[in-house]
Amino acid sequence: MKLKTIFILPFLMNILLSGNIFAQVEQQLRVDPDNSQGGNFSDFFDEIDFIPLETNKHSIFSSIDQLEVTNDHFIILDRETNAVLIFNRKGGFESKIIATTLGYDYPIHYFFYDRGNQRIILPNPVKRDEILIFDLRGQIIKKEKTTFNNFEDLYFLKNGDIAHYNYNVDGRRSSSTSNEVFIENSGKIKSRYFPYNTKTAVLKSAEVLENSHANFYRTANDSAALLVRPYDYHIYRLSNNCLDTIFSIVLPLNHTLPSNFRSDSTFTKTRFKYLRSNPQIVFNLSNVYLIGNKLFIKLQNLDKSYSLFYDIKTGIFADVLKITADHKSSFLSFNDAILGGPEFFNKNFLHGDGTFLYTSYSASRFLNQKTENKDKIIDYPPHLEKNFRSLNAQSNPIIIQLKPKLN
């Protein structure tokens, strides 16, 4: 009995020390993705802007793999050229971080942005306790050791608080308790959520099918972020000292994971096989952007993923890929999936800042639309006419900035 208490006590302590988990105002969003609505562009969006990114020998890049938007800048990761590029909001090129020039001889898989300090952070993929910190001019400020290595995702909240997402379970590790999400400040952990045992947790890291984008998503409020987890249909709101479950996505049975998929040991070593055998089942939520009461979300499965719009107020939901360009967008598509391109299929909306959504496609697809729409009488605004004249098929991709209709 005494022995049992020794084992259970740390676990209970951990729960007691955890933040205010489940202090939620949870709202169920019932979605049947196969029966989602479509519509015209002007039904869903108020504004669209096509922002070409300057093309010169220093700024040329392949495509946008990660986008961060600040008040004045677009920060872009291009894995093909292994560089982080910084453009101003008008698309003018400002600077570039070429990590290899710093002895960083590895592909940059992702970067983080510290909004409060306006810093770009590159994790070292080999020395997982080291990060490289850059300013918005692309200049390195310092290399720094971190207390918390092996993080998978970071989000910089207000007041120096940093949210970590970290799930690392391996039967070969020593047994200890860790947390999937925790908030630290200057190396001191302030709050912990979702505890797990690094050795004995039923769901091993090797059985997690990663979300193709991120775990944290920016909101209109700098002190909070949205959070999603693998094999979990909840959307959480994480703030400096609180984690709320704000939405729970309810899908038709044929798209739904078994409720014990994370926790039941009968799925051990068969989770990927199960998903391959049931490719219609949604296993992750990603690309979650809440703008006013409009939620944009990607439902990931192995068959065809869904990109959905959900009106929290009315309960109306639509498939973003069923939205047709109209006069408000000058009959130009806001995504390349409709034009046969891969960008939106693979990357969805790249960023949301609480007011605008951002996506991207190639200049050639942008230009081709003018040719393909030649039978339509379209009065293009002057800046679009200018873009058509100044761009060519070899130009950098363009950023599409969208403002959802809030009423």
């Binding site: 609505q37 040329i60 890049f61 495509s63 093909e80 047709t324 360009a325 299929f345 200049a363 697809r365």
Partner: protein, 940 residues
């Protein structure tokens, strides 16, 4: 979904499907039909919905297209005041049907919004009538573009080839090549499997169009080029219930000049097994080299105008052939995929050929700077051969490995009688006259087994990219030869000779080859070390060969009239070789791409290769016993660059530097001189060394892929090289023209050759197109040798070019013009003797599908041959045939053919080598008329 491949397919859609309207009307009698396809239940405009317009009266497809991103469709050339059915279909929706006509007054019909109802709303209640007529002509299915065969109305007896000709972007070239939007189709499969062999035409010309559900176009990885490029494949998906079938042919032809043909075939297939029995008997030079050729020859073929099947009047000699063969294929996986198949294939051919070959030649041989030998020869050759060939192949491929077991057995049993008369003279006098009669019976057996295993290349796997192979081959030959040779001297110094000889020869050769290596041993040697991104591969080839020869030679002793053993030529010999060729392959790949703009790939590969070669000969004749060994370094460097500018072109350029070693053989080192070949005596050279070839090749390929353009395809290759210590003939002539030939190492042998091919289709309108092909080849050679100890250099230049243009109109008329020009020129330094030959060939071919089932084919070829040593030869071959298909299924064919109507065919020989030039004539097929009746029973 693989977007690398999807890109190609979508370019294809943009290129062809927006204008895919097949109609035969005047431009002034057409109007516009447009509309928007819409799902009102979900407030959604449907893109890539299939739109088809059918003539209501004839049910013929008038136009088809896919909707654009706005769900819109527009047809600009719709016949006016015709009752039409507009059918709109999409997966997951009930097909909609709209009856309409475009009036002459407005010349416009706007359907506005056409609502499609989701299928589940209607419980899939679709009228049968609609199902039949509402097939979407084209649709996207993931990465695959699919054409629905039922949407294309053709003659009920049409075959797949007729359907393919109707599909937008497909070009069937005269040489059998198929391109889709300018890209070469590498394989045509039926249900994911080869159909009676690898020849696409067997499927295209036998399978009825009515059996086909879909023609699918997609891309697969190019295993040879790795990540550089992809290959285009076409799969013919058969309808359910049409997965099995029987097609056969029984044909007989009788002609003048005692020409005759009998052909038969019976082919059966189902979803997993294919079996074909096929046979022929003819004396029209239709020589069946393999079972696939026979099946091809007996194909049903479509009804259109086709000019490709013309008899070849250039084949030398007259050959009577009888053959029977079979081909078998069984798939253990009924729907194999690119990475998952398990297949057993085999074929067998029994062939009996009787060849009658006679020729008259005149040969000039340079002897000294001022003298030459002139040989005039008449020869006749008759041979009979019975051969059996059996091939087997088992292939299993998974995502991880590929295993292949193949074997070949052949037996060739025959006899040959040749008779030749040779007069020899020099520039001022006759030297000798000789006759030679050879009779021989031979039996040759050959068998080999080849096993290969390789794992999929994967840098993360220790044993990825591993290759293992073993091959064993055995050949035995028994040859009984009887030679009568008589030389009559016509000049002092020439000795009268008469030889009557029996030669019984046996040989037995065993060769074993072991191959082992890996495309990626870096992981094995250096674990995960990066090593500047250089990939390391290793290949080892070990070869053992042993050839045993036993010759028993007897000469008739004129005094005793008995055959006595020829002690010199009677011999037992065993020649063994061992070689080991290790190669380390260092390669690095540089890749740069910008999404939707370009992809540039540069591959560098350096092969560090050496070769150890050991040869050992044991013979009864002591001078033939030797052991020699060689160690040579044979490096190779390959640089290849690939550039893909999206929507513009794909271009591949490669530069290869390769080296090769050739080793002297027994006949070069220590041959036994055959005294019966008095005019050509072979002498050994024990000091001969191996020769080494160094060559550089540049390859160029360009494929345009511009939108709405006729895309050009260019291939070019150019090679230059030199051979060090070339093993060249050193010829010594005596006063009476007798040649003694030994090999000697000479330097200064250089060569260059190149080829060029350009293909350009021009789409005139939806029912007619032009196909241009321009090709050329060039060979330059500087080859030194010795003649009577004088250093002689022969410069040879030969080149040819071909121009071919075809006009195809709606499968009813094909016109073709073909111009071919070739030139050969050689000059010897020893006596400045030159030889040139120019050949021009102009063909006008046409095939006209006059009316139902009746085709007239015309083939007119002008040949013009000009030679520096022979009078100009001009002749014209005119062939004409009328073909009529009878019975309801058109499976009875009557054909009247007239070949060489002008009685003008001539067999002309003209060729040269380092020291001699030969011209002459040979017997060929001449004018005959033939009536052919063929019946094609078919059930699918």
């Amino acid at each position: 979904m693989n977007y690398k491949y999807l890109g190609f397919i979508l370019i294809y859609v943009c290129l062809h499907l927006k204008v895919a309207i097949a109609q035969k009307v005047n431009s002034s009698d057409v109007g516009v039909l447009k509309g928007v396809v819409y799902d009102s239940a979900h407030n959604y405009r449907l893109r890539l919905a299939s739109i088809a317009v059918y003539d209501d009266r004839t049910s013929e497809l008038v136009a088809y297209s896919l909707t654009n991103q706005f769900g819109e469709f527009t047809f600009n050339k719709i016949p006016l005041d015709n009752k039409l059915n507009l059918l709109i279909s999409m997966d997951g929706y009930v097909t909609a049907k709209v009856n309409l006509s475009v009036s002459k007054v407005n010349k416009l019909h706007d359907c506005k919004f056409i609502n499609l109802k989701p299928a589940n709303d209607q419980g899939m209640r679709i009228l049968d009538e609609v199902i039949i007529k509402s097939i979407a002509p084209v649709k996207m299915n993931g990465d695959t573009l699919e054409f629905n065969a039922n949407a294309f109305r053709l003659d009920s007896n049409a075959v797949v080839e007729d359907l393919i000709r109707k599909l937008p972007g497909f070009i069937l070239w005269g040489d059998g090549l198929i391109t889709v939007n300018g890209r070469k189709v590498e394989r045509v499969l039926v249900g994911g499997k080869p159909f009676f062999g690898d020849n696409a035409k067997t499927a295209l010309q036998n399978l009825p169009k009515e059996s086909v559900e879909k023609v699918q176009v997609y891309n697969v990885n190019d295993e040879k080029k790795g990540s550089i490029d992809s290959l285009t494949e076409v799969n013919i998906k058969l309808k359910k219930g049409k997965l099995k079938g029987i097609f056969a042919k029984a044909g007989v032809g009788l002609g003048t000049q005692d020409r005759r043909t009998i052909d038969g075939m019976l082919s059966i297939f189902n979803n997993s097994t294919q079996l074909s029995l096929v046979g022929t008997s003819n004396n029209t030079n239709a020589i069946p080299n393999n079972t696939n050729t026979l099946i091809q020859y007996n194909s049903f073929k479509g009804l259109g105008a086709d000019i490709e099947y013309q008899p070849d009047f250039t084949v030398q000699g007259i050959t009577t052939s009888k053959a029977i063969g079979t081909i078998f294929q069984h798939d253990f996986i009924s729907t194999p995929t690119y990475n998952n198949n398990n297949r057993l294939q085999g074929d067998y051919l029994l062939r009996r050929t009787l060849n009658d070959y006679s020729r008259n030649t005149n040969t000039q041989i340079a002897v000294t700077p001022i003298d030459k030998i002139i040989q005039t020869e008449k020869s006749q050759d008759q041979s009979v051969a019975l051969s059996h060939t059996l091939n087997g192949n088992y292939n299993k491929k998974t995502t991880q490995y590929e295993f292949q077991l193949s074997s070949n057995l052949s037996v060739n049993d025959g006899s040959n009688v040749s008779n030749s008369f040779l007069d020899q003279q020099n520039s001022d006098k006759m030297l000798s006259s000789s006759s030679r009669l050879n009779q021989n019976n031979f039996l040759k057996r050959n068998g080999n087994i080849n096993i290969q295993f390789k794992t999929k290349a994967d840098a993360n796997k220790l044993w990825g990219g591993m290759e293992l192979g073993y091959r064993i081959a055995n050949t035995t030959l028994t040859d009984d030869q009887r030679v009568f040779y008589e030389l009559v001297p016509l000049n002092a110094g020439v000795v009268s000779t008469k030889i009557e000889r029996l030669n019984h020869a046996n040989s037995n050769e065993i060769t074993q080859t072991l191959t082992f290596g890996s495309k990626q041993i870096k992981r094995l040697l250096f674990n995960r070390a990066y090593l500047w991104g250089i990939n390391i591969g290793l290949n080892n080839i070990v070869n053992f060969s042993s050839v045993g020869n036993r010759n028993n030679v007897q000469d008739l002793d004129s005094t005793s009239s008995n055959y006595l053993i020829n002690q010199y030529l009677t011999n037992t010999n065993r020649y063994k070789t061992t070689s080991y060729t290790p190669t380390v392959i260092l390669s690095k790949n540089f890749r740069r791409s910008l999404a939707d703009r370009f992809e540039n790939v540069l591959d560098l590969s350096v092969n560090i290769q050496s070769q150890y070669f050991l040869q050992k000969n044991n013979s009864d004749k002591s001078f033939q016993n030797f052991t020699r060994q060689y160690n040579v370094f044979l490096p190779a460097v390959v640089i290849s660059g690939y550039k893909h500018r999206f929507g513009q072109f794909r271009r591949t350029i490669s530069l290869e530097f390769r080296t090769k070693a050739d080793y002297p053989t027994l006949i070069d080192i220590a041959p036994l001189t055959d005294s019966s070949s008095l005019n050509y005596l072979r002498i050994g050279n024990t000091g001969i060394k191996n020769q080494r070839t160094n060559q550089m090749t540049i390859n160029y390929n360009y494929q345009a892929e511009k939108r709405n353009k006729n895309n050009i395809n260019i291939n070019a290759m150019f090679t230059v090289g030199l051979i060090q210590k070339k093993m060249a003939d050193s010829i010594a002539f005596n006063a009476v023209g007798r040649q003694s030939v030994a090999v000697a190492n000479v330097n200064g042998y250089r060569f260059a050759n190149g080829t060029f091919l350009l293909m350009q289709p021009v789409r005139l309108n939806t029912i007619s197109n032009l196909q241009f092909t321009i090709s050329g080849s060039l060979q330059l050679q500087r080859s030194p040798n010795y003649i009577n100890n004088n250093y002689n250099i022969t410069h040879t230049q030969s080149w040819s070019n071909k121009f071919d243009v075809s006009y195809l109109y709606n499968n009813t008329l094909t016109l073709n013009f073909h111009q071919e020009y070739s030139n050969y020129h050689s000059q010897q330094s020893i006596n400045s003797q030159t030889f040139s030959n120019k050949l021009s060939k102009s063909s006008f071919n046409s095939s006209f599908f006059i009316f139902r089932s009746f085709t007239v084919t015309n083939n007119f070829t002008l040949n013009d041959n000009r030679s520096s040593v022979f009078p100009r030869q001009r002749f014209t071959i005119w062939n004409l045939s009328l073909t009529k298909r009878l019975l309801k299924k058109n499976n009875l064919e009557c054909k009247i053919s007239a070949y060489d109507l002008l009685h003008n065919n001539k067999g002309i020989l003209a060729y040269g080598d380092n020291s001699s030039l030969t011209t002459g004539t040979v017997n060929v097929l001449r004018n005959y008329y033939m009536f052919t009746l063929a019946y094609y029973p078919r059930k699918f």
